[in-house]
């Protein structure tokens, strides 16, 4: 059992090295295999972490229920994105096309490797290192298309995210200092030790470290007001990378915040950490809901929806009820599946119509008979419609808020989520469901009218995978998964 974390780290890394040297058609398959393998391995971990407290491999790797939740979200999206990328990439049969394919697949695997490593490593310092690696690898992937937009987005992303992580590094060091008052001047920042000693840490220092950590990792998570890189990077990156950024990377940054949260509630009690998350969460939700009403760019629309959902996660954590925390963790899983599927659909539309501008796209559902309806379904799932997983998770969060009781915040949450629903569903349904305007008619100026037919069957398969996961999470989550979520929520709760 303790060898599984090692395998989880080794497989994507080996895939990254191999895909750099192998021909692209082999890489395509290898990436899918690697993704499916690590997803399977993460599922195997579920029974072990729900019966034991944690599985450690050496002093560097440690897995508990909380990390497995984020592992499952990441590896599922890894596998689904690998399938999608096989259908999405349209490489020219030229040396340039081959070079792009190699860089793309090596980068994709390396990016997923770093995101798989983050929940596996044991300790705040190594966690920071893993998150920093996710930044630098994904910045290169954002820049890979070599357009004006991509180079602008990647510069903003690498600079703003690195600055955020500079703040997070300061948080790590200050948290280390808080520990020296208990453990002496030389120790490692491993979780079990930090959690055991946290009650005796100096509160002022932990308070500073926690706020800096929320601000620093929050930059990568896309919390307002430090979210500014996010819409640019999500809209300009190749679509498989957008899906991973939105569904997995933001969640991993949230995981880093949760690790600080665990320590902070032990030192400071629950009120202060919850209030910090509440402020950032409300700001994110408010701003994102308003921006969703005015977006015309399909991928930017989905990016702002990510900001909205990260806000919901932060607000959910600010509710004290255990049921809300279970909802937050389920939300991480459901958001990964829903946002992945939505971006896959957006990728299909972009490839078909050659534009992201929603005012120039009509009749998407006719042009794309399979991925079109599935994109609409994914957007409805993102707006928390039943029977999808996000409905269940937001329901849990809201009922947790009402039982806490934090009625005002819960009411604001529900109102803003409804506003976001309007923005999100209005534009996508207009784009997808309105019949195509005939070319040549006066209203048809500037419209794109492509031929009917799917871009690639693999895109359809990847979207079907995502929707299936969403329906399972929404209708009847497996008992073991429920157990895992409750176990992880109890790790996050306030110790008695």
């Amino acid at each position: 059992m303790s060898s599984i974390p090692v395998l989880l780290i080794a497989v994507p890394f080996a895939a990254a090295v191999a895909t750099f040297f192998l021909p692209v058609r082999v890489s395509r398959v290898l990436t899918v295999v690697s993704g499916a393998l690590v997803f399977g391995l993460s599922l195997v971990l579920i029974p072990a972490v729900t019966t034991h407290t944690a599985i450690s491999t050496g002093s560097l790797l440690r897995v508990d229920a909380l990390s497995v939740v984020f592992l499952i979200a990441t590896t599922f999206l890894y596998a689904a994105t690998a399938v999608f990328a096989g259908g999405y990439l349209n490489l020219a049969q030229s040396p340039a096309g081959t070079r792009y394919g190699r860089r793309f697949y090596a980068g994709l695997n390396l990016f997923c490797w770093s995101m798989v490593a983050a929940p596996l490593v044991n300790g705040l310092a190594l966690l920071w290192v893993a998150v920093e690696i996710t930044t630098v690898v994904s910045a290169l992937l954002v820049a890979i298309d070599d357009t004006d937009g991509a180079s602008e987005a990647s510069w903003k992303y690498v600079l703003i995210a690195s600055l955020g992580l500079g703040i997070a590094l300061l948080a790590t060091i200050i948290m280390y200092y808080a520990g020296t008052t208990v453990f002496g001047s030389a120790y490692d920042l491993s979780y079990a030790q930090m959690l055991a000693g946290a009650v005796r840490f100096p509160p002022d220092v932990v308070r500073l470290a926690f706020v800096l950590a929320v601000l620093g990792f929050g930059t990568k998570m896309g919390l307002v007001p430090v979210h500014t890189w996010l819409p640019d990077a999500h809209s300009e990156a190749p679509t498989p990378v957008s899906a991973l950024l939105s569904g997995a990377l933001l969640a991993i940054s949230f995981y880093a915040i949760l690790r600080y949260f665990q320590i902070a509630v032990r030192t400071l009690g629950p009120t202060f950490p919850r209030n910090v998350l509440l402020i950032f969460g409300l700001a994110s939700l408010l701003l994102a809901a308003l921006y969703l009403l005015v977006q015309r760019d399909l991928k930017r629309l989905l990016a702002y929806s990510s900001v909205e959902h990260m806000g919901i996660l932060a607000i959910g954590m600010s509710f004290g009820a255990p049921i809300a925390i279970v909802g937050v963790l389920l939300h991480v899983l459901a958001h990964a599946a829903a946002k992945g599927t939505a971006f896959f659909g957006a990728g299909s539309v972009v490839r078909k119509f050659g534009t992201k501008d929603m005012t120039r796209i009509r009749g998407g559902i006719t042009a794309l008979p399979w991925s079109g309806p599935m994109l609409v379904a994914a957007v409805l799932a993102l707006s928390a419609m039943p029977p999808f997983g996000i409905f269940r998770s937001e329901f849990l969060i809201v009922s947790g808020g009402l039982s806490d009781p934090r009625d005002t915040v819960t009411a604001v949450l529900v109102i803003l989520v409804t506003v976001a629903f309007f923005g999100l569903s209005w534009f996508t349904t207009q784009t997808m469901l309105t019949p195509a305007i005939l070319p040549g008619s006066p209203e048809g100026a500037g419209m794109v009218t492509p031929t009917k037919g799917e871009v690639s069957p693999w895109i359809v398969v990847s979207m079907a995978l995502g929707l299936a996961a969403l329906v399972i999470l929404g209708v009847h989550p497996p008992a073991q998964l429920n157990q895992l979520l409750h176990h992880a929520a109890s790790e996050l709760g306030v110790p008695r």
Binding site: A125, V129, W155, L163, L169, L170, I173, Y176, S185, L189
Partner: protein, 221 residues
């Protein structure tokens, strides 16, 4: 009456103040080359501080760290950026929104805020000089001023690297015992970040034929 600070505390404070002053010098440096040289000097001060702490506190691991940080931050990073500048044939720093005087005034205000905010935490310990931590916080904030007000990619990247120097000072004074494996991982990360910054700066220069960031305003909303 306060007791006189120990040699150790005094030395750490002096090094921290030197790092802060270099940060201010970067704010007013008119050419990019000067900025890179100031960064190399700042890194050298941090390295000397690491050697000094290693010697006085008898932490052998810090010598390794000092050596690595010397090679990386004094030689490799400035070398890479200078090579980029040679290829780009641009040397004047991007004009900032504000004049030098206003920039310095803002930086003084911001660094005073950082100094007193962290100082008011009353971080006490037998071994560490709390002033150095407060100064390190000021360095981080001034680095932000530099990044926000300068409008060219090299200044912004150097701003980020010098922010890392500020964090290094903080880590040396409050977390000198941090395990070597972690410190090396931090430095390795910096190296990777430098390479990636370099690649993206080259892409930017290749597309726009300038190092200025004023044209990066297409994506908004």
């Amino acid at each position: 009456m306060h007791p006189a600070p120990s040699t150790y505390a005094g030395m750490a404070d002096v090094a921290a103040v030197l790092v802060l002053l270099t940060e201010f010098a970067m704010l007013r440096a008119p050419t990019l080359r000067a900025q890179v040289r100031l960064y190399a000097f700042q890194s050298l001060v941090v390295t000397v501080l690491a050697v000094f702490i290693a010697a006085t506190q008898h932490i052998g691991e810090l010598y390794v760290l000092a050596l690595l940080s010397f090679v990386l931050k004094v030689l490799i990073v400035p070398g890479l950026v200078l090579r980029l500048l040679r290829n780009a044939e641009v040397d004047l720093a991007g004009s900032s929104v504000l004049g030098v005087a206003s920039m310095i005034l803002i930086a003084i205000g911001v660094s005073a805020f950082g100094f007193f905010a962290v100082g008011s935490l009353h971080v006490h310990s037998t071994a560490l000089p709390p002033t150095a931590l407060a100064i390190a916080a000021a360095v981080v904030l001034v680095a932000f001023v530099l990044i926000i007000l300068r409008s060219d990619v090299v200044s912004q990247a150097i701003g980020f690297f010098s922010l890392e120097n500020g964090v290094s000072v903080a880590s040396l004074v409050v977390a000198a015992g941090l395990p070597l494996v972690v410190e090396v991982a931090f430095l390795f990360d910096l190296l990777v970040a430098v390479v990636v910054f370099g690649v993206i700066m080259r892409v930017h220069h290749g597309r726009t034929k300038t190092l200025s960031t004023t044209e990066l305003d297409r994506l908004k909303g």
